[in-house]
Structure formats: C-alpha cells, structure tokens
C-alpha cells in the first residue's frame, strides 16, 4: 500500500457522500457544494497543520483557502465515476508542494518579494518569487484596493503604508513603527498576501 492510500483510508470522510456532493456541485447545486466544502475544510486544516508544523495558524488558513480556490477552479476535472478523495488529495498535495517551492524561492530572493505600484491604469500588486515566477493582479478600481488596505489589521496596514506606498526602507519604517525589521517583514508579507486574496475574491465575485 502506498502512503497516499494509507492516508486516504484513515480519513474520517465518507468518499461516497463527498462524491455525491461533488456531482451535485458540478450540476450547479450551491447547497450541496457549500456542504461539501464545509465538510472537507476541518480535515484540510488538520491535515495541512500536521504536514506543515512550523506554520502559524494564519498561514495554514492561507493554504486551506488556496486549496479551496484551486478545487473550485478545476471542479470540472472531477470524474463522478471515480472516488473523490484521491482527486482532492492530488490537488492538496500539489498545492502544498507549490507553496513550499514559493516559500523557498521567496526566502532565496528576500530583497523585494513584492511591490505595490501605482500606474495610469490603476494599482498593481506584484509578487516576484525569486525572479522565476511573476504574477500580477491589476486592480482597475483603486477604491477596491483602498478598502482592502483599510480592512487589514493595524500592524499590517501600517507596514504596507510605509513600505509600499511611502516607499520607506525597512530600517526607516521599523524605526517609525518602533518594531524590528524582522517583525515588519512578516507584517508586510502577511499584509500583501491578505491584499492579494481580498482582490482575488473581488475578481471572483465580478
């Protein structure tokens, strides 16, 4: 038995019920879909926490949401004739590996992993993952970004404000806020991640 099937066997999840839920979700049933996602989320959270013991709760939650968004994006690839859990597990496994790679390349190119930039066409949130992977979400509506920034916790908001909008150096901003450079980096990174997600959610809504 390979390790994957060993994990699948110990899951407190009923594959047949989940498969039925996913079939209904593919047919456009919002209640079945919500029930399915709510059913797997606690397991996902536990599983990711176990796999990534060094992560803080907020980062675990980021990964949970990453998996949910990914699952949603590829829900058409589920074949109702096959079991659900191996399908889910493959997505989880790959998304965790992607996150680990992202983390590794981000640590390698720590200098300026993210940038927030104002241009004529609006504001851009850019993430540079060690130079190998660049992606950008453009926000046509600067108000949406303002709102997203306002919704951030105070520490993250201040970090974003000073570092990204006022373009202060880490040292200057840390002095201004009376915090350490390390703590500031973490706050800025968290803030950028929250912004990206908030804007993505808005994009999904539209």
């Amino acid at each position: 038995m390979n390790p994957e099937s060993a994990i699948l066997r110990t899951l407190p999840l009923d594959d047949a019920a989940l498969a039925a839920g996913m079939r209904a979700a593919q047919s456009g049933d919002p209640h079945a879909y919500a029930a399915l996602l709510e059913g797997i989320t606690p397991w996902l959270r536990r599983y990711i926490r176990k796999q990534r013991r060094f992560l803080q709760a907020a980062d675990v939650e980021d990964l949970v949401q990453d998996v949910l968004l990914s699952l949603h994006a590829v829900r058409r690839t589920y074949d109702p004739g096959r079991p659900f859990l191996p399908w889910l597990f493959a997505i989880v496994h790959h998304r965790l590996a992607d996150a680990a790679r992202r983390h590794a390349s981000r640590s390698a190119g720590e200098a300026s992993p993210e940038a927030l930039e104002a241009t004529d066409s609006g504001l851009h949130v850019t993430s540079l993952d060690g130079g190998t992977n660049m992606e950008e979400s453009a926000v046509g509506d600067p108000r949406a970004l303002q709102q997203a920034i306002q919704a951030l916790p105070a520490g993250q908001r201040a970090a974003i404000h000073l570092l990204k909008l006022k373009e202060m150096s880490l040292k200057e901003a840390a002095r201004e806020l009376g915090t350490s450079v390390g703590a500031l980096k973490v706050a800025a990174h968290r803030g950028m991640a929250s912004l990206r997600r908030a804007l993505a959610r808005k994009a999904v809504k539209e």
Binding site: G28, P86, R95
Partner: protein, 223 residues
C-alpha cells in the same frame, strides 16, 4: 487569514457554483485530439506529396519500426498529457511514452552504429537539413495549439511535465508525418535532424509550461 474568512470564501464559491461541463476522460480526449491531428496530417501529406520511394521505404523494417514508434510516442505522450491534468489519475500513465520512445531511439541508434561499422566515419556524415525543425513544427502546429487549449481546461498540477508531454505528442506526430514526405533515412540524419527537432520542440514546450498552464490563470489570485 482567519477561519471566518474561510467560511466567507466557501459561501462565495458556493454562491457562484454555476453548472460546469465535466471534462471527458483522458482516453476520450486523446481520441478526439488524434482525430483532429489525423486530418491535419492527411492535409499536410497531400499538400507536400508523399515521397516517391514510399512503397520501397515501407518494405524496410527499420523505417516501419521507426515510423510506428514515432506515431506511438505521439499517441502515448498525448494520453499522458491529458492524464496529467486530471487530479488523482494514475501518475504511472506519465511513463507511457517512454517505451515507444526507447524503441524509436534504439532503432535510430542501432542504425547509426550499423553505418559506423559498415562505412566507418563516412557513414556518419551529417549534412545540414535545417528544414526539419520548421517542417516538424509546422506539421505539429495545429495539433500543438489544439493540445494547449485542451490542456488548459484541466488542472495544472505539473505544468512543465504536462507541456513537455504535449509538445512531445505534437512533435512525434510531426516527425511521423515528415518522414512520409521527406526521403531521408540515413540514421545519423534522422537522429540529428528529426529526433533532434522533436527534442528541441519538447524542451521548448516544457519551458513554456509555466506560461501556458498555471493556477494563476485559473484562480486569478495568482501563485
């Protein structure tokens, strides 16, 4: 991010759960892709005209083995590419093209060795035949574009591998088609120009994988 946000996200995703067309199985998709590729190949062979010595060539076992292996490489690479975008599909399917590929390379390699033994270094003379790269790319272009569109409907679990397999599928068929029209059977020439072109196109596709396939294209939140 908190659990409250996750609950909101679930509500939002459920709220926009429009019915989706299920992706057919990789077998069905491979069949569909092959049907289109076969029509494309037929058009090319008719336009470029089959080589005059085709009837003589098909009596050469080496030609037949290599053509069969190139075709089988294209078909199995296509199947593997479509399987690679379905979460939970048996990953062993990705190894499928290795067998026909080994037969193909083995036959071409044996041919090179035989020429060396028989004619010495003169048997391995390489003359420029640059037309092979664009010819294979051109014959494989429509299947490659179709493949790219079809692969983007799946899950980009392994973008580079998936794109490489897609490239190998299209280039394998391209090489098969080219050899029906282009009378060049010296093993070393086939190795350098045809197998080399296939390798080049496959590598290019692998590199392009990140732009062709990626979660950021699907979820719009990037990463």
């Amino acid at each position: 991010m908190s659990t409250v946000d996750t609950r909101q996200l679930i509500e939002q995703l459920a709220g926009e759960a429009a019915p989706v067309g299920r992706l057919p199985s990789p077998w069905v998709r491979t069949g569909f892709w092959l049907a289109l590729a076969a029509v494309n190949l037929l058009v090319f062979v008719l336009v470029m005209l089959p080589r005059r010595d085709l009837s003589a060539a098909v009596s050469d076992p080496r030609f037949v083995i290599e053509q069969f292996a190139a075709l089988a490489t294209g078909v199995t690479a296509g199947l593997a590419a479509f399987a690679s975008v379905v979460p939970g599909f048996n990953r062993r399917a990705l190894l499928l093209p290795l067998l026909p590929l080994a037969v193909w390379l083995g036959s071409v390699g044996t041919g090179c060795a035989t020429s060396w033994i028989r004619f010495g270094p003169a048997g391995l003379t390489v003359t420029p035949d640059w037309a092979c790269v664009p010819a294979i790319a051109l014959i494989g272009l429509a299947p490659a574009v179709t493949m790219a569109f079809m692969l983007r409907r799946g899950a980009p679990l392994t973008p580079h591998t998936t794109a490489a397999l897609g490239g190998l599928a299209a280039a394998g068929l391209g090489s098969f088609g080219l050899r029906l029209c282009h009378a060049e059977d010296a093993s070393v020439m086939v190795l350098i120009w045809q197998v080399g072109s296939v390798a080049l196109l496959t590598a290019t596709a692998a590199v392009a994988g990140r732009w062709l396939l990626g979660w950021r294209l699907l979820t719009r939140h990037g990463r």
